[in-house]
Amino acid sequence: MKTIEEQFFAHGRKQRTMEASGMPSLRGNIIEMLDKQAVSRKRFRIWAWITGISAFAGLFVFSCFYSGETYLSLFSWIERTAVSLSEAVSDTFRQIVARMGEMVSGFFTGLPLPAIEKATMEISVWPVQIWYVLALLLGIVLLVGADKLIRHKFPA
C-alpha cells in the first residue's frame, strides 16, 4: 500500500512524462543557432585580425614617418651595446680557456707518468676508444635499469 506522499509523487511523475512527451524537438533550432554562432565567431575573428594588422601597420608607418630619427638612434644604440657585450663575453671566454689550458698542462707535467698515457699503456691490447664505448654502454645499461626500476615501483 503506497502512502499518500508516494502516490502524490508517482502521480506527479506521470504528469511530467505526459508534459514532456508533447514538447517539440529543439534539435533543429539548437543546431541552427550553434551554426550561426560559429559563423559569426569566425567572421568576428577574421575582422579582429584584419583590424589588428592594419592598425599595427598604420601605427608603424605613422611612427616611422614622424619618429624615424629616434628609431635610427635607438637601433644604433642597441647595435653598439650588443657588439660591445659580445666582445666582452668572447674576451672573458678566451681568457678562461687559456687559463684552464695552463692549469691542465701544469698538472700533467707535475705527474710522474701522465694518467691517460698510463691508462692507455695498461690497456694497450685494446685502443682506449673501446673503453669509452664500454663505459658508454655501461652508462646506458645503468640508465635503463634505473628506468625499469622506477617504472616498476611507480606504475603509471
Binding site: I4, E5, Q7, F8, F9, H11, G12, R13, K14, Q15, R16, M18, E19, A20, S21, M23, P24, S25, L26, R27, G28, N29, I30, I31, M33, L34, D35, Q37, A38
Partner: protein
C-alpha cells in the same frame, strides 16, 4: 559510453552530434525547468539557453558525473538566475491547473475526491515554495536522484542538501496537518 562519443564529436565542432544529445535529454531538462516557469514557452526558452550554454561549456565536462547530471546543474543555475532576472518565480497557476486537470483525466481511472483534494493541497504547497526549493523537490522526489547528485546539481554539500530537503519536507508536513 554513447554520450561520450557524441560529446567528443561535438567538441570537434560537429553540431549534428550535439543535436543527438539535445534530442536525448531535452525532455528531462524541460520537466525540471518547467517547475519554475510561468508557461511552457518560457520553459522552452530557458531550455534553449541551457543547451547553448552546455555546448559552450562542453570542454569543461570531465565525465566525473553523468552527462544528464551535468546538464541538470546547468539547468538548475540557468533556471534560478532566470527567475531572479524576471522575478517570475510564482507560476501562472491558471494555466498549470488546466494542464493538471487535463493530465489527471488522462491518467486517473478511478478518481477519489478526498485523495484528489489532498493532492491538490500538496501540489499547491509545493508550488508556493521558493524556486530553489521547488527544484530540490523536483530533483529528489520526482526525478529520484541520489542525494549526492542533488547536492552536485544545486552546488551544495551533501549534508547541506540533506538538511534543506528535510526542512522542506517538514514544512510541507506541517502545512498539510495544520489544515
Amino acid at each position: 559510453m554513447e554520450d561520450k562519443l557524441y560529446i567528443e564529436k561535438a567538441l570537434k565542432g560537429d553540431t549534428r552530434a550535439y543535436g543527438v544529445l539535445v534530442d536525448k535529454y531535452q525532455s528531462l531538462i524541460f520537466v525540471l525547468v518547467r517547475r519554475v516557469c510561468n508557461n511552457s514557452d518560457d520553459a522552452m526558452e530557458i531550455l534553449q539557453d541551457v543547451f547553448l550554454k552546455a555546448y559552450q561549456q562542453l570542454h569543461t565536462f570531465r565525465g566525473a558525473s553523468s552527462f544528464a547530471t551535468w546538464l541538470y546543474r546547468i539547468a538548475f543555475n540557468t533556471a534560478i538566475s532566470n527567475v531572479r532576472k524576471t522575478r517570475s518565480g510564482s507560476r501562472n497557476k491558471g494555466t498549470y491547473e488546466t494542464e493538471i486537470k487535463h493530465t489527471q483525466d488522462a491518467w486517473e481511472e478511478d478518481p477519489d475526491p478526498e485523495r484528489e483534494a489532498q493532492f491538490e493541497k500538496l501540489r499547491q504547497l509545493v508550488d508556493d515554495l521558493p524556486p530553489s526549493e521547488r527544484l530540490l523537490i523536483e530533483l529528489y522526489y520526482y526525478k529520484e536522484l541520489k542525494m549526492e547528485e542533488v547536492a552536485y546539481i544545486s552546488g551544495m554539500t551533501v549534508a547541506n542538501a540533506k538538511v534543506r530537503i528535510h526542512r522542506i519536507r517538514q514544512k510541507l508536513q506541517t502545512e498539510m496537518t495544520v489544515s
